[in-house]
């Protein structure tokens, strides 16, 4: 088995390239991180302090930006004056619920599609993927009228169902690829060793864990960041964070401080999730199990 260590060949050209890459990365990091930083800092500023900015080009005035007394009043207003704890709970339930349901049904369906030969399999698989081909807006109106007929508009189960209809095909599609990569011989060995078909299926789940992990993250991200479904299907009873934040923009009064704080509350969990789940996304567990 070959090792995957990178072999370095040093040459002047390589050194220049590496230097260029370094500069590019620094600029790119500034570009992506500064908005988050501004949002984070501003959420702790009084409204006056937040707009106390130096003139354009006046680099010495940059200290002005850090010259403020931190305040938590925007966070207090989110959770006391507005119902943000409920909205966080709604967001969590909608994202988590649809991720769990999609992963359960998705892995079962993907497993069957990967392991069992049956008539019309290719067509079925294409049909499943094709449900993702239409843009979300195109199906919004019919979906809304169906959901209203079923009394699901404005409820959490309705929102979870809506996300699941979009996440499930995606789950089947991603997970089928992961199951295809697990040699069937491993389950055969399990069954000969004395396990049932279901036990054999469960026994290979650790091998598709990177896939399941990746999918869960993508699925949660989709639901958590979604605005369209939340605004239309969830409106009213199942208000999520993006919709609630949007409502802080009122015609006469844009609550910048609260919006910044809401931004922090919305992004933090996803950043933490990304850090926690990182090691799950490392693939390659199946290497070397079967003679190639």
């Amino acid at each position: 088995m070959a090792s995957l260590d990178v072999v370095h060949y040093d040459s002047p050209r390589m050194r220049i390239l590496r230097f260029g890459a370094g500069i590019f990365l620094v600029l790119y990091l500034l570009w992506t991180l500064v908005p988050f930083f501004v949002m984070f800092v501003s959420s702790f500023k009084d409204l006056l302090a937040a707009f106390n900015l130096p003139e354009v080009g006046d680099w010495s005035g940059i200290t002005l930006f850090f010259d403020f007394t931190p305040t938590f009043k925007h966070y207090v207003s989110l959770f006391v004056d507005n119902n943000f704890s409920t909205y966080i709970a709604n967001s969590l339930m909608a994202a988590g619920g649809s991720a769990v349901i999609s992963v359960i049904f998705g892995s079962l369906a993907a497993y069957s599609l990967s392991r069992v030969e049956f008539a019309g399999k290719a067509d079925l698989f294409f049909w499943i993927i094709s449900t993702r081909m239409a843009p979300v807006v195109a199906v919004m109106v019919p979906l809304y009228s169906i959901f209203r007929a079923l009394d699901l508009v404005g409820t959490l189960p309705g929102l979870i169902l809506a996300y699941t209809t979009f996440n499930l095909p995606f789950a089947i599609w991603i997970l089928k690829g992961f199951f295809d990569n697990v040699p069937y011989a491993i389950e055969e060995a399990q069954m000969v060793d004395g396990s049932t078909r279901i036990q054999a299926f469960v026994s290979i789940l650790p091998l598709v864990a990177p896939g399941i992990g990746a999918f869960v993250v993508l699925c949660i991200l989709f639901a958590w960041n979604d605005f369209l479904f939340a605004a239309i299907i969830g409106s009213g009873g199942a208000k999520t964070l993006p919709v609630a934040t949007r409502e802080l923009v009122q015609p006469q009064n844009i609550q910048w401080g609260a919006i910044m704080a809401a931004g922090v509350v919305t992004t933090m969990p996803m950043i933490l999730l990304g850090l926690v789940i990182r090691k799950y996304l490392v693939t390659g567990l199946t290497m070397g199990a079967v003679k190639e």
């Binding site: 055969e188 060995a189 399990q190 069954m191 000969v192 060793d193 070397g288 003679k291």
Partner: protein
């Protein structure tokens, strides 16, 4: 322990048959080898036994009981897969322990069993590794470990030692045979290596193109092949075949060729049954049933020309050119014929075979 019976078993993949009308009876406790070239249906046969492949037609019986419809876990067989099929996310220890864990054997017992198996297979220093950190031969031994760690009714080994080096292979041949003798468990052992089959098995089933060619003990297979295909497949160096004419003359029957005319032994004439008493046939004889010399002997002999000499350690293999064919003769290393020399070969007629020129079946 179980006896295994195949009754008219067929395996089709789509429309192509991989196993054709197989009938075999493996006695309880025997070591049976399925021998044949690549693609002849050996693995398909194994997989039907293990319950991994649907049996297209016919029945398979364990101890007289039909098992066609039993799922793998209820057949109580242990299998070594051709492609190892180890669990990549488990250590060697857990791989070997897996069948015991599934039967909820207690931990002390598992540890003892796994240690014993690992020691036998010389992989006890690898127990903490994962499969991707092992060489091919080590993986193969882990796969064997997983099979021998419990006591099933039947062992199925699909080319279990094909990837080991020659020395380890010889060692493992002995170990596997010894293990089977000690446990007394019926073993079905697939191989394409005739030496493995001849040296280990109680019975050999020779397969070709999905069809059973011959069933018999190693000595029957080697000494009394039922057709030219089996005769040519088994034995190393391979049997020589020469197409000759059969000529009857005063009660005697001669094998005639441009280079020789040799009479059959009297009892062999009877075995021809008159069927081929006039016409062509294929004579088959192994290189070690021939003797070569540079001087013309008294008895009838084959005259030819030395083509090339190969020294194989303690033996010499001489390839001799006849009209239209070549034959190989095993002799002593001292033989000093040089390429181009005229030479004479005498045949041990007890050990030659006559095959039908058309369908290849053996008259004797």
């Amino acid at each position: 322990m179980a006896s295994v019976t195949f009754k008219n078993v067929w395996k089709y993949y789509g429309k192509t048959p991989a196993v054709k009308d197989l009938n075999i009876e493996c006695p309880d406790g025997s070591f049976v080898s399925i021998l044949g070239p690549s693609g002849c249906g050996k693995s398909s046969t194994m997989r039907m036994l293990a319950g991994l492949e649907h049996i297209s037609a016919g029945d398979i019986l364990f101890d007289g009981e039909r098992i066609n419809d039993l799922p793998p876990k209820d057949r109580d067989v242990a299998m070594v897969f051709e492609n190892y099929a180890l669990y990549p996310h488990k250590t060697v220890l857990e791989n070997i322990a897996n069948p015991l864990r599934l039967r909820s054997v207690d931990d002390d017992m598992i540890k003892a069993r796994v240690d014993a198996a690992a020691k036998l297979l010389e992989i006890d220093h690898l127990l903490d590794r994962r499969p991707h950190e092992l060489s091919g031969g080590q993986k193969q031994r882990v796969a064997i470990g997983r099979a021998i760690v419990r006591e099933p009714r039947l062992f199925l080994f699909d080319e279990p030692i094909a990837h080991l080096d020659a020395k380890l292979r010889a060692h493992m041949r002995g170990e596997i045979k010894h293990l089977q003798r000690t446990l007394g468990t019926t073993m079905i052992y697939v191989t394409h290596d005739q030496l493995e089959a001849l040296s280990m098995a109680d019975y050999i089933a020779v397969m070709h193109d999905g069809e059973l060619q011959q069933w018999g003990t190693p000595s029957e297979i080697f000494n009394k092949p039922v057709n030219a295909w089996v005769a040519g497949f088994v034995g190393e160096p391979a049997m020589n075949f020469v197409t000759c004419d059969l000529v009857g003359h005063n009660q005697e029957v001669f094998l005639r060729h441009e280079n020789f005319e040799i009479p059959l032994l009297p009892d062999q004439v009877g075995k021809l049954n008159g069927a081929a008493s006039a016409g062509t046939a294929r004579m088959g004889v192994r290189p070690d049933a021939l003797e070569i010399s540079l001087t013309k002997p008294h008895q009838p002999s084959i005259t030819g020309e030395v083509f090339v000499n190969e020294l194989l350690g303690g033996d010499m293999l001489v390839e001799v050119l006849l009209d239209g064919s070549r034959i190989r003769v095993k002799t002593v290393p001292e033989f000093d014929g040089q390429p181009g020399d005229r030479c004479h070969i005498t045949v041990n007629r007890e050990k030659w075979h006559i095959f039908d020129a058309m369908d290849g079946h053996a008259y004797f």
